[in-house]
Symmetry: C2
Subunit: 313 residues, 2 copies
């Protein structure tokens, strides 16, 4: 195909992807995989869209904390609502920095508030809030809306895999229901193929109308060793291709592959400070593991002709 992976630079990485796909679809070849088993899983934050300077979902949730403080003045003097209300990024960023230095106090305050931020909200109300957020929220430094922060080469890859009989899923540490309202537009992936972390839900009938409402507690956090668990729970198959970018993706990539079949593990390296960001923090272990095990490292700088789709800024 002339337009296979158009946002990818010709080179070793692109060749590794195309070779893998051509092998598994070749019915006469030794590496043939039947279509039902062609399952591909993609992490989201830092793999399909930007995760710096902070995960998009964190921005969304901090705005929600700010709204809570607008509605309830008593919260305006309590952290983390105070910081959200005052847009105090130093406090919010400091919570994470302190955590890296062994002081979890502020991060616990923040996470506790985040877990309770959507208590008793219905799944449809949450969907509407997420949709409204993406309607006008911009990335703080890239000069583009958040809905323009998906990586064009990854969208190319999703379409290329699907054109070759793969079923694609997103398997993210981010909240499942935060991704669902926009994953169709950004990635062409429907809600039933979004796997992610989940708040607990409770079923309730109110005046004969049955609703699902979020609890103020996580059901599970879909990261690290939980990723293979949630992939199996949802799909009932092992993936044969997986894409990630951080240590939390290591078990997912390791879990990829069937006996006697080829597997492709792709690890996105953020080495493009000019067009996106340049960092390895949080990816040290998986980079080391990838180098030892011949996993395919994707250089954003060298392997991607474009990072974002034209016209999305």
């Amino acid at each position: 195909m002339a337009d296979t992976l158009p946002s990818w630079t010709d080179g070793e990485t692109r060749t590794a992807i195309v070779d893998f796909v051509e092998r598994v679809v070749d019915e006469a070849g030794p590496d043939y995989v039947e279509p039902a088993s062609r399952v591909a899983v993609f992490d989201n934050d830092g793999t399909l869209w930007c995760e710096k300077p902070m995960p998009i979902q964190l921005d969304f949730t901090i705005r929600r904390l700010g709204e809570m403080a607008d509605d309830d003045a008593s919260l305006q003097s309590q952290q983390p609502w105070k910081a959200a209300h005052e847009n105090d990024m130093d406090w919010l960023g400091g919570a994470m920095v302190k955590h890296y230095h062994g002081d979890d106090g502020d991060l616990k305050l923040l996470m506790g508030a985040i877990t309770r931020a959507f208590d008793e909200v219905t799944v449809e109300e949450y969907d509407a809030r997420v949709t409204a957020f993406f309607d006008d929220a911009d990335h703080p430094t890239l000069g583009r809306p958040y809905r323009g922060c998906g990586y064009a080469p990854m969208v190319d890859l999703l379409r290329y895999l699907e054109a070759n009989g793969f079923t694609t899923y997103i398997a993210s540490g981010g909240d499942r229901d935060f991704m669902r309202p926009v994953a169709g537009e950004l990635y062409g992936v429907p809600p039933e193929r979004i796997i992610g972390s989940a708040l607990g839900l409770s079923y309730r009938e109110r005046e004969g109308a049955p609703d699902l409402l979020y609890k103020a507690a996580m059901d599970f956090f879909d990261d690290g060793p939980e990723k293979p668990v949630r992939i199996w729970s949802r799909i009932g198959r092992r993936p044969i291709l997986s894409v990630g970018n951080s240590n939390g993706d290591l078990p997912m990539l390791a879990f990829t592959g069937l006996p006697d079949s080829p597997a492709l593990r792709l690890l996105l390296l953020h080495d493009d400070g000019e067009r996106e960001f340049d960092y390895v923090a949080g990816a040290e272990d998986i980079l080391e593991h990838a180098r030892r095990n011949d996993w395919t490292v994707v250089s954003m700088k060298d392997d991607w002709r474009e990072v974002f789709a034209p016209g999305t800024a």
Copy 2:
């Protein structure tokens, strides 16, 4: 279509189904539903296959307890392994009868053992055990193998819905991974569209080989108000058609339907002691609810031309 729902008798029930489907696919009509939102969910035990005289999964698990007692003589004197080892159906059936009379002791013993019966078994080993069970286990009274115990009219309905752009899911109180290995052959439904109860899973690497192993604890029991929760978790949409047969399906059927769109709720009534079984125990509440709310009750005796596919005995 000449062969629409061939195992269904012409009559009100069949007409209600066909009318509903024709309305939601009619792009020019007021009840049109886009294909992505045409989600149909089916309970399994007592809806897609027989659940009497005991759920098929219970037979499978009791055989497993018997094997455990074969391997470990110390279990042969302890309930419930003793009963499983001696094929003591009176004790096993009595546990349920006592439960109905307020004495939970034996049922708790049984459920505790069942929860632990696959501790540390990998998901692939479990699949192989389930497959082997269905290779030769027979229904105790119907004179047919368990793999011939799926209802032909429900398979017709699955195909008819899919031919009309619906996506079908099984949403059962039974164990998800017990249904997955056979749901393709019996119902044409692949593993990623099976929703059910789940044992906890843990991810472990053993000599570089990553595995998922069952824990001796449930993750969740997918029945009653948990069914809508698990449907949302997996699909991210409300169904517009649902099929059930017992009180545990009431919230799932109530949760069915979108605002301003039609919904169809089908309740299978087991009133055919000649071809299958005749019982309402465990379905009293939902039958009452169906009658009050105009849900469609399917009479096995009157609405089904055949119960099982020819050639499956």
